[in-house]
């Protein structure tokens, strides 16, 4: 497979690995937050880390730069072990933590200047860079504002600006768009995409499947601290949940069960019955048999894969 160098999916398969995790484990006391996590991220890839609340996404991210010390397995980032040599890694990395962790004692501009200094950004280069990024995130009118006076979404955007200050080779985004309005979300996506096009590596966690599909070359799904599925979004859908899904009201449950073919899958979401079948014709025929129109008829998507692999899809087949 050959990919044009400037294509947004420049996940050069042969490029060197940036993150290599082998059987990474983290225990908090008796509780295993990560258990035998294996994954690899290569330079130029944008990898999406999906998983339910508490799956271990933020814990794994913490392991990458030494904020969380793993209790087992091997992990290297840029060839360095974050438990041994975190600074070597942190010099090349930008992080948007799940909680913004902006310095509340300082203003927007003071925060950014200070972080540019922390990251060792050249003094002269820092100011134009800060101004450019603030302008891009429509925060330039808030330069002198104390952090306390910013809205939640503004703080999120500022945390994003802060991560980009040093133009890092690896950008780690822990739920970057949570709490953002749709327009700002697009602004962030645009920035992430242009970042990838510059050949940088991105790891992003999100609970928005649509976001993952838009941004990521590859998806890694975590559940209970281990990888349960990985692949390009399309390939993952074709592998795990190929076909189409029709959703019916709960009343049809019994009748659908009677009509179920071996290649179909029946599962429930909330008070609704969902049928997955390989061909859309199967579902059109089912509608006819039931004498009703499905509430929804659509191709399978990443959310189906996610729900299936994390066991959140209440499966009737087993």
């Amino acid at each position: 497979m050959s990919i044009a160098p400037d294509s947004p999916s420049a996940a050069v398969p042969g490029s060197e690995p940036v993150i290599v995790a082998r059987a990474v484990a983290k225990k908090f006391g008796d509780f295993a937050a990560l258990q035998g996590l294996d994954l690899e991220v290569r330079r130029g890839e944008c990898v999406g880390l999906l998983g339910p609340n508490g799956a271990g996404k933020s814990t794994f991210i913490g392991c990458l730069y030494g904020a969380v010390l793993r209790t087992g397995g091997d992990l290297t980032v840029f060839g360095h072990d974050p438990a041994q040599n975190p600074r070597k890694i942190k010099e090349r990395l930008g992080v948007v933590p799940q909680e913004n962790a902006l310095d509340e004692g300082l203003t927007v501009m003071e925060n950014m200047r200070l972080y540019a200094r922390f990251e060792g950004v050249d003094k002269k280069a820092a100011l134009p860079r800060i101004n450019e990024l603030l302008a891009h995130m429509s925060l330039d009118h808030k330069k002198e504002a104390p952090i306390k006076t910013l809205s939640g979404g503004m703080k999120r955007r500022l945390a994003f600006v802060r991560a980009l200050l040093s133009d890092p080779e690896l950008l780690i985004l822990d739920e970057p768009t949570t709490g953002l309005d749709p327009a700002v979300r697009h602004l962030i996506w645009e920035k992430v995409i242009s970042y990838r096009q510059a050949g940088k590596t991105v790891m992003v966690t999100t609970h928005y499947m649509h976001e993952a599909e838009i941004l990521c070359d590859r998806i890694i799904i975590l559940n209970r601290g281990a990888v349960v599925g990985a692949g390009a979004p399309r390939a993952l859908i074709d592998k795990e949940t190929p076909g189409f899904v029709a959703t019916f009201a709960h009343d049809f449950d019994a009748r659908i069960k009677a009509e179920l073919q071996p290649s179909w899958e029946l599962f429930h979401q909330g008070r609704q019955c969902c049928v997955r079948a390989p061909k859309i014709d199967d579902l059109l025929a089912l509608q006819q048999t039931l004498g009703t129109t499905a509430l929804q008829l659509r191709p399978s998507n990443l959310e189906d894969v996610y729900l299936k692999l994390t066991g959140r899809e209440l499966d009737d087949n087993d």
Binding site: A67, P97, A101, D103, G105, R117, R162
Partner: protein, 259 residues
């Protein structure tokens, strides 16, 4: 190795810059209590009690108290900054969470806090010293030049005690307990208010307090008593406590800032 030290020091310096950036915003409110407290004590105790007490080893009571006021400023500056101050930064403001994603590590955070404590105490101690000089309370006027250094040295182990408290308390109210049972006794019983001379029990126990050694160094310099043996003893122990408590505090802070 020296390169590593230089980088580490530069990163720690950024922590000082950050603290200064926040501190200067409320400059007057920040410095007034540290200066007002010793002034008040000198007035109430020094002026008030002097006539009743007479002389202590050839000094008026106000002259006796004077160097202790420098020590007091250094102790409280360092302790409050590294207990309440550090705890709030860590817990409510999560200042370090983001800082630790940059090349700054826990070692630089702790080093930076100590440096900051040293500098602040040096400035405060120096200011109190100038004030004492103007009041004519220094038998050895040259001591004003030594006060910043001794205040700074004294502040580091006191700051380490504050950091240890930050790492061990379960909520912010527990600092009150640390204050009442550790800092207050250290403060009242370390020779600031009365000479320990050769009190058998207290004189020995107090050797365990880094604050006491700082107080003695300040007193010897303020009173112009050149006693090399005693100076070496107190300086040596002060540095020993600085190293020991500093390292212990670092180990503790590593445990709370990484999981």
């Amino acid at each position: 190795m020296t390169d590593e030290f230089r980088t580490s020091f530069q990163l720690a310096w950024h922590v000082v810059v950050r603290n200064w950036g926040v501190y200067r915003k409320d400059f007057l409110a920040n410095i007034s209590p540290t200066l007002a407290d010793p002034a008040l004590m000198l007035t109430a105790l020094g002026m008030g009690l002097s006539p009743f007490i007479g002389q202590i080893g050839g000094l008026s009571y106000a002259q006796y108290l004077a160097p202790g006021m420098v020590a007091t400023t250094a102790l409280f500056t360092a302790f409050f900054e590294s207990s309440y101050g550090f705890y709030v930064k860590m817990t409510f403001e999560s200042v370090f969470k983001a800082m630790l994603t940059t090349p700054i590590g826990v070692r630089e955070v702790v080093m930076g806090e100590f440096l900051w404590g040293f500098i602040r105490a040096a400035l405060m101690g120096g200011t109190v010293g100038v004030f004492l000089l103007l009041m004519g309370l220094l038998s050895n006027p040259w001591a004003v030049f030594l006060f910043p250094l001794i205040s700074g040295l004294l502040a580091v182990p006191c700051g380490a005690i504050g950091l240890l408290a930050s790492a061990m308390v379960r909520n912010i109210n527990q600092f009150q307990t640390v204050y009442s049972f550790l800092i207050a006794p250290i403060f009242y019983l370390s020779g600031v208010f009365f000479p320990l001379g050769d009190r058998p029990v207290l004189g020995v126990i107090v050797q365990l307090s880094p604050f006491y050694h700082g107080v003695r160094l300040l007193q010897l310099s303020a009173w112009g008593q050149w006693q090399p043996g005693e100076i070496a003893w107190h300086l040596g122990l002060l540095l020993l406590f600085t190293a020991g408590l500093g390292y212990w505090a670092y180990r503790k802070v590593v445990k709370i800032l990484t999981t």
